[in-house]
Symmetry: C2
Subunit: 178 residues, 2 copies
């Protein structure tokens, strides 16, 4: 029994279990626990992804970027993203007045949630409303060309993830992008 429990525990932990999951008709399932994944950074009012308006508004949105933990650990080791890497981009409203806060911006309700998956090639997904799955965005969507042209490391905006910039430079995978 003890052996069985240990085996189960070991299996649960050894299996990363943070790779992509799909519906029978090939739609990417929204990762249920991405909020427990590794957070890379947040920006305010950045022009990042099709769901983000400009920061002209007084309360521009926050962009929060998460990545699957097993991919993160591989990036620390190699400076590259392994196949099956999943990024989640969460866009939230910002607020300025609330509780004791009278200035600056804090995060509010969700506006949009998107995903970038490396499945041989990089694919982008937008989960509309409360959708729990999404089909890939058409390759004509702006995210494909923008990530390919401007991502500092392999289609991803590592230049905006402060703790990963130095990792990529040390591994020789960082490309200075305009």
């Amino acid at each position: 029994m003890r052996y069985l429990l240990l085996s189960l525990a070991a299996f649960t932990c050894l299996a990363a279990d943070d790779g992509p999951k799909f519906t029978d008709d090939g739609r990417l399932l929204k990762p249920e626990n991405y909020r427990e994944w590794v957070w890379l950074s947040s920006g305010l009012g950045m022009s990042y992804g099709p769901a983000t308006p400009s920061d002209a508004a007084s309360n521009p949105p926050f962009d929060n970027v998460f990545v699957s933990p097993s991919a993160y650990r591989e990036f620390l080791r190699t400076g590259t993203w392994p196949d099956q890497t999943i990024f989640v981009l969460e866009v939230r409203r910002s607020q300025s007045k609330g509780s004791i806060n009278q200035g600056g911006h804090f995060q509010g309700e969700m506006i949009a949630i998107e995903a970038e998956l490396k499945n041989k090639k990089w694919m982008f997904y937008g989960f509309e409303g409360s959708a729990t799955s999404a089909k890939p965005l058409p390759t004509t969507a702006a995210c494909y060309s923008c990530h390919a042209q401007h991502g500092a490391v392999d289609n991803t905006f590592v230049q905006f993830y402060p703790t990963l910039i130095e990792v990529a430079r040390q591994k020789g995978t960082f490309r200075e992008r305009s």
Copy 2:
């Protein structure tokens, strides 16, 4: 041998190992892997903690809040923070111009790192410069009274953590704070 490996794996995973660690003279060690802990939210230019200036500057700092994973899971279950909960507050410079970004703000270098530990009672720590350990801030520091008076849940600013507000409300632990 297989049994040994499974046992080790099981132990590694079953042990949360994200509680506080101290030096021999009682200083809190800065959690080495807090960037892999559960991120709760980020704000820009908020008046949050003694290390954060106002948002008067054109590039106000970001505040990033992380919590130990085992404490996070307990909060989801109960709406309260267990003893040995550790919060890490990371303060980073913001930048507006860089790479393709021409507006809004993205995150730059670290300005300060602080911790809040529930060790029977809540204690606050500031890791100065590249210090890897810190002694508790004096209880006269502003953080103690501000968290006690304004924290929505047990000395913590859950009102600024969008995914935890509803959890606390459902568990009946959320206090509306001015």
